[in-house]
Amino acid sequence: MSKKDFDVIVVGAGPAGMAAAYVLAKAGVDVIVIERGKFPGSKNVMGGIFYRKPMDDLIPEFYKEAPIERHIVEQRMWLMDDVSHFSMGIKTQKHNSEPYNCFSVLRAQFDKWFSKKVVEAGALLINETVVTEPIVENGKVVGVRTDRPQGDLYADCVIAADGVQSFLAKSLGLRKKITPNKVALGVKEIIGLSEEQVNDRFGIKDSKEGVTIEITGPFLKGMEGMAWMYTNKNSVSIGIGVIIDDLINHNMNPNDLLESLKNHPSVLPLIEGGETREYLAHVIPEGGYKSVPRMYADGFMVAGDAAMLVDSVHREGSNLAVESGKLAAKTYLEARESGDFSEKTLSRYQEKLEETYVLQDLRYYKNLPELLEEKRYLLTEYPQFLIDAMTEIYTVDGVPKPEKFRKIKGELKSRFGYIGLAKDLYTIWRKLR
């Protein structure tokens, strides 16, 4: 090897990169993290849900010191049309005591805290520096080039955790071109309210407890997407993500979509009078398992969003990022024993991921993106039927109940046909198998 400045270069200080750097630094590896933002999380100003488990394995009881907004005790799921929503969900005290299930966090603060831990563990963090390309010698990744003067760095191994657009993975030809039917555009806002307002409006007793609401249904006009609301301490994160192709086909602009969401009669009372604090648009990979690339090359591994590790069904991403970052680091540590960082050794990384929930979850839903692409009506018509049925049942209008049920059954038949219904159910079952 020609030169070596560090053992490992991690590109990107998101959850994936920092998890990798943390494990490596703790093991005494000389690791440098390069982040293009002013500080980790600075480009990621908004709130989101952070899952406890993978992080807790890394930094036990991290939630005791990390900047957490609220721990989530209730998760609601809304099916929504233009005038109604049908709500399901779970609120449980099991999630109201340590070690908790998940948290709402403001990434700008959370990532900054995480980066402090990473630096304390012994990693070097370099901000405001953009990695422009991998340095490849004899077919092997030996370092990265940055946009700074005298900006080349060499190492045994490069871990690309540079997010969904991953320039590094693309330039090494690992990733297929993302097509607009495989990515969603997410827009989010933070709406400032007082702590009391958040508590009252979401039915929370204690300011430490939080609620999430995931929203889908016919209000999306047949586009594939999802909206959500999370409670922070004194604000609400509200956002909506829609497959880019659908936006184009429906000639919709995500900002307008978010505006109409905010003005929906079910949503407005929850956020009314609040002041928009921050706004962010970002791409979410939704291709699922089938879009996950080969995640290694000679001297190179890819983690987190860069490897398309997002579970769009459950809106999980940061946990998969942490898990994959950890495993990339562990793979490096094993490779170090033999001093062999070849593609073959590093391929263990992807095998490891296959053994965990990360790729198992994604594999489970692997056919879903195509199914939904083929059968968009699954997202509108069934939810609409449910909403209508519920409305019918709860409307007291002198119509006898048996007649109501008959009517609903009739609707089901006329809208989908029993055969169609059976087919759809079968397809879903088959695709998820």
Binding site: L124, I126, N127, E128, P149
Partner: protein
């Protein structure tokens, strides 16, 4: 040569908003930055170091989080960083601040050797007094050159240099001996994009903390109690209400409307009969 730059960490003024109900500033979530003028001071010192050799030290008085400002200064090329942090400094006015920074600078000189050029920003964007630099210079009894926009003809042998400074009516060129003390304008230079090795060195180097225990700072000159000026009250200026937009089909129509609205004011001034 040895250059010592005084830097202040300030809230990013562009993001500070006013809470008109309580009459206070909303600083929550406002990022702390290096005072913009001070960045140009660091840049100037680093350029001189690169040209003439030597080193750049930076010092910042502030709470522990001011370490971020010092780290950033090192990323810009400063070699040594000192954080002057102690509870006894709380509430200092500029007389007490310049005392503490002067005493800290003397400690830095003890450790790092005599200073040729001291640098400060023209003014801090929060306190806005522009008094700290002149205060420190006076205590060192070295020539003070404020509002510097250019540094020329540095002669390390003869220990002289020339400074171009802004005047109300133009500029003047001053020649002075070293050591001297400069307060600088943003026009002095454009910030350069620092090379990666600077950033790596900054990430590896720790900031040295100075306080009343490891310097010869005397508490009787520090803090609120020993500051001659005191803040009696702070308040936000009354909010100016948004006025009206004058609209119309033609520019002429709009100007006519505007004229009618301001005619009474013009009359009171005797501009129209």
């Amino acid at each position: 040569m040895h250059f010592l730059v005084f830097i202040k960490q300030v809230p990013d003024a562009a993001q500070v908003r006013v809470d008109y109900e309580t009459g206070t500033l909303i600083r929550e979530g406002v990022p702390a930055i290096i005072n913009p003028f001070d960045k140009h001071a660091i840049e100037a010192a680093v350029r001189l170091k690169n040209q003439f050799g030597g080193k750049v030290s930076v010092v910042c008085m502030g709470p522990p989080m001011a370490e971020d400002a010092l780290k950033e200064a090192m990323s810009m090329g400063a070699d040594k960083a000192f954080l002057l942090s102690d509870r006894i400094f709380a509430g200092s006015d500029t007389l007490a601040t310049s005392y503490a920074l002067w005493a800290a600078a003397k400690q830095i000189i003890k450790e790092e050797g005599p200073v040729d050029v001291f640098f400060a920003g023209k003014q801090a964007i929060d306190g806005d007094t522009a008094q700290t630099g002149p205060g420190i210079a006076t205590r060192f009894n070295v020539p003070l050159i404020t509002y510097v926009v250019d540094i020329k003809n540095v002669d390390p042998e003869k220990k002289t240099l020339e400074l171009v400074r802004l005047l109300e009516s133009g500029q003047e060129v001053i020649q002075t001996t070293m050591p001297c003390f400069l307060t600088v304008e943003e026009e002095l230079n454009t910030l350069s994009y620092a090379p990666l090795p600077y950033l790596i060195r900054a990430a590896k180097t720790s900031v040295k903390v100075l306080n009343s225990k490891n310097t010869e700072i005397e508490a009787e000159y520090c803090g609120l109690k020993n500051s001659p000026t005191k803040v009696r009250k702070a308040f936000t200026p009354p909010k100016r209400e948004r006025g009206e937009m004058i609209e119309g089909d033609s520019v002429d129509g709009i100007i006519n409307q505007l004229y009618e609205k301001i005619e009474p004011v013009l009359k009171t001034m005797g501009k129209v009969q």
